[in-house]
Subunit: 206 residues, 2 copies
């Protein structure tokens, strides 16, 4: 056989760097993380990290964009493994659980999201990613709620747009309470369940 | 009459500095504001500002603590002037409107809140103020919801603790959407009204 040169999986390396950034952000907050820390955490040289990302902001931009793909892949895997029923309510709950900072990984993701938001207030390239991602999530939530209405689980009087805003608000802002330890992960998940039960419980189960 | 020395109203001066900080934060974000900017905006010397606050962080701590007193005073004034009915629903709505960044003043307050949160993640003195303020707001919300239940306006099956978390989430996180212009002030207020109507509309009006 002809010897082929070793293939470098650039996507995987970028992913490893993003995961290293996420783990470090979980423990020290993004502002406390340097390129040097990321290289050490990812087990790469500074030069290799900089081959992929010139600055920490580029890395953050990539990591936050990649995040929703990771959420999606994890939820799909749970459905395919039969661990998660593919009902609108179960999918909505799984998305909320992914977003909420209830373990180290999601805490890192959540703190990156806050840092990202701060940059988006003043930097158009960050604002553009935000401007695309948030309406997509709203639309996904609204679609799942409409599916619940079609199945007869969600009351027809519920407004999918407002309910989506509520769900997004819950996912986004309960994180603050968890990160600052005012509420436990169990408490915020119980509020998510309370809300979903009220939303999906107002009509007979389909 | 005996001539009395001119009384300096220190509380008023601190308040003026806090208002100057809020206005500047609304237009340039807290990170872009220096003590020098604040002095110019407040029409005071740098030395006078520093007499009251040694650092921007001290100023931020004061401004955020003062904020809820200002909210309270504004709502009380509206009730006393007969502009606002003193029903639990109307008071809840007024608090939500105060918190949401739907004009320049509330935008400044809201961005200060984000900056405050970022510091609270790593600084115990900021975290302590947060740890006190958030449960107080939750408790106020829960009290108003219980009053609504006693008046027969809110369904007895509603859980005041979870509903408070929902309201707090709405107020806290819809701000993100407004600041980044994904939703208009009218849209976020309409979601607040949608939610309050569902909460207070499930039983006949008292």
């Amino acid at each position: 056989m002809v010897k082929v040169p070793k293939q470098v999986d650039h996507a995987a390396r970028r992913g490893e760097i993003a995961e290293a950034l996420t783990r470090l952000t979980a423990t020290r907050g993004l502002e406390g993380v340097s390129l040097r820390h990321v290289a050490a955490e990812a087990g790469m040289s500074m030069g290799l990290v900089q081959h992929y990302f010139k600055t920490k902001d580029e890395m953050l931009l990539f990591a936050v964009q990649r995040r929703s793909e990771v959420y999606e892949a994890r939820i799909k895997a749970q459905v395919e493994a039969g661990e998660l029923p593919s009902t609108p309510k179960a999918i909505l709950r799984a998305i909320m659980i992914e977003i909420l900072p209830i373990d180290e990984r999601s805490r890192g993701n959540w703190l990156m999201g806050v840092a990202f938001f701060i940059r988006a207030v003043s930097d158009p390239s960050f604002a553009a990613v935000y401007a695309e991602g948030v309406p997509e999530l709203f639309e996904l939530f609204a679609m799942l709620i409409r599916q619940g209405q079609e199945a007869g689980d969600v009351d027809k009087s519920a407004d999918p747009m407002h309910e989506s805003a509520m769900l997004w608000a819950l996912a986004d802002s309960q994180g603050t309470n968890v990160v600052l330890k005012h509420r436990t992960p169990d408490e915020v998940v119980s509020t998510v369940d309370y809300y979903l039960d009220r939303l999906f419980g107002s009509a007979p189960a389909g």
